[in-house]
Every structure is written in C-alpha cells, then in structure tokens.
C-alpha cells in the first residue's frame, strides 16, 4: 500500500510539473535546436550536426504580433504546417521587397522572411510572404554550445 501511495504521489507531481512546463514553453520561452545552415553565419556557422546551435525562443511577442525588421523568428511552414523554420524578417506589412524579377508589396498581416545564407535558404523568395499568424516565437539568443552564447542582433 505504501508503494502504491508513493507511486500515485510521484505521478501527480510529474503530471503537474509536465503541465506547468508545457505552459511555460508555450507562453514564456523555450529552447529549440537549429537545423540546417540557412541562417549562417548567425546560426549554425559550421555544417557539422554535432555542433547544432540551441536557441532561446521567446513567446511574449505573440500577444500583439509587433515585430521589427531584423527579428529572427520561428514560424510554421505555409505548406507543411508541422514543420518549423527559423528565418529573419526583412519586410513588414506595407513595405516593398525587390525579389529576383520584380518588386513585391508585402500585404497587410504578412511579413517577408529570408535566411541570412541566401544561397541555401528556403524562404519567402520561394513561398511568398507569410501571414504573421504563422509565427510561433522570436529568437533572442543562442544558449548552446557554451562558447557561442550570445544575443542575436
């Protein structure tokens, strides 16, 4: 009976801890790994997956969706909504972006994102401006590996 009681107590504490952890991760901030080199040299400057950067993503920006040009954001892909990409905002609503052939105006409620490594980056030059509602958080700093801990500018 003592073991059962102990198990139940541990389960309750783990459940509560899990729920609080999920809430903090959704509302406050979370740590995510960066895959690929579309944001070199800002993130993942080497092409070696043992040294993937881990970044801190803050979620307070999702209260009012006020971003500035230069913010690095995490967003859901418009075509595969379960995939998340990390790119930099280079165009806010109402601004004009010059892409390869013509000049495009970013519609209201959307933004234009591009990777820092323009040679190998799948971004708005391919799938167009993305609605701001797809953004899932803003990257503030690198937290791993320790020698690369820094704020993102």
């Amino acid at each position: 009976m003592g073991i059962q009681n102990l198990l139940w107590q541990v389960t309750k504490k783990a459940f509560t801890g899990g729920i609080i952890g999920v809430t903090i991760s959704d509302r406050c901030c979370s740590v995510v790994p960066v895959r690929g080199d579309s944001m070199s040299p800002t993130l993942n400057p080497q092409r070696n997956s043992y040294l993937d950067d881990y970044v801190l993503v803050e979620k307070f920006c999702l209260q009012d969706y006020k971003f500035v040009r230069g913010d690095v954001v995490v967003f859901s892909s418009p075509t595969h909504f379960k995939d998340k990409y990390i790119k930099r905002i280079v165009g806010l609503p109402g601004e004009w972006i010059s892409s390869s052939r013509d000049v495009i105006r970013v519609p209201e409620g959307h933004c234009w994102v591009e990777g820092d490594n323009k040679a190998s980056s799948l971004d708005s030059r391919t799938f167009g401006p993305i609605p701001l509602g797809l953004i899932r958080g803003r990257v503030t700093s690198v937290v791993w590996p320790p020698q690369r801990v820094s704020k993102i500018s």
């Binding site: 509560t16 009012d64 075509t79």
Partner: protein
C-alpha cells in the same frame, strides 16, 4: 521579535502556496484550451444562419486540427491572414487539391475565377456570402492558421446544439 518574524514566515508560506495554486490552475487552463477545447465568441453577420450576428458562444476543439482530420463542411476558428489579432469563424468549403470557383465581386459583375487549393491550405467561406471576408478575398488559408473546429453552440440557450455540416461531408 519572535512573534513578528513567525507572522512573516506564515504569510510567506501562505503566499507561496497560493502562488503555486494559481500557477497550477493557470497551467491547467492553458493546456486544456490549447490542446483540447476552448470556448469562442462569434459575432458578426458572416455566418448567418448558422451563427447569430449579435453573438454566440461556441465550443471549439483542437484535436482534429492538430491531426489534420478536417473535412468539407466543418466550421473552424481561424486566425485572419489579414490581421493576426483577429479570430474569425468560417466554414471549410474546399480541401487541398480541390478546384474552387467563385464570383470575384458580386456587386460589380458576374466575373468568376477558378483556383486550385494548394497543398497545406484550405478554402473557407462564410455561410452568408454577401457579407463575409473569406478566402474569396484573402485566398486559401494555410493550415497553420487554423485554431480549432467548432462543435457546439453554447449560448444563448435557445441556440444550444451541434453545428450542422450543410451536407458537405460526402
């Protein structure tokens, strides 16, 4: 001195206990409304006759939107691509791969366009097509903007009941 320090001790412990309790309640509410179901307020004329223009509270669930089990005829809560702070409610008319034909501007002329819904998007329209900002204006909606699927009308009580699918589920 002894009694005042123990007063602060007791007060501190009470505050911590209430704080933990508030944190637990807040987290529980957050997880439930984000991953299970949440109530939503609907007002505006775009979903007449399904929803009343002066306001309905509906219950929306999140389980089928995360696993992509939406079908034509579902009423969904979405984030507007024109303004991420607006949360309209519309009906899914077409899934990815469907051909949608629609009249571009019913007040001007009868010109119509046909669009194939791209991968990862859905086509939404309000039931009251004369007064509804929907996919005919902002184009196909990416799946990532869908917040939930409306199941049930909760308030006012004379409207209590499930949302029907307008015989679109075939």
């Amino acid at each position: 001195m002894g009694s005042s320090s123990s007063f602060w001790n007791v007060a501190y412990r009470q505050a911590m206990k209430s704080g933990v309790f508030v944190a637990k309640v807040y987290s529980f509410l957050h997880v439930t409304t984000t991953y299970l179901a949440f109530p939503a307020v609907a007002f505006g004329p775009s979903m007449i006759p399904t929803l009343h223009p002066s306001g309905n509270v509906v219950l929306a669930e999140r389980i089928s939107t995360r696993s992509r089990k939406l079908s034509r005829g579902d009423v969904i809560v979405l984030q507007s691509p024109e303004d991420p702070n607006k949360i309209p409610i519309k009906r899914v008319i077409g899934l990815e791969g469907d051909c949608e034909s629609f009249v571009v501007d019913p007040e001007k002329n009868d010109e119509s366009r046909t669009i194939v819904v791209p991968k990862g998007h859905v086509w939404v329209q309000g039931d009251h097509t004369q007064n509804s900002r929907d996919s005919r204006i902002f184009g196909p909606l990416p799946y990532g903007l869908i917040r939930g699927r409306v199941l049930w009308r909760l308030w006012p009580f004379q409207d209590f009941g499930p949302i029907d699918d307008h015989n679109l589920k075939k």
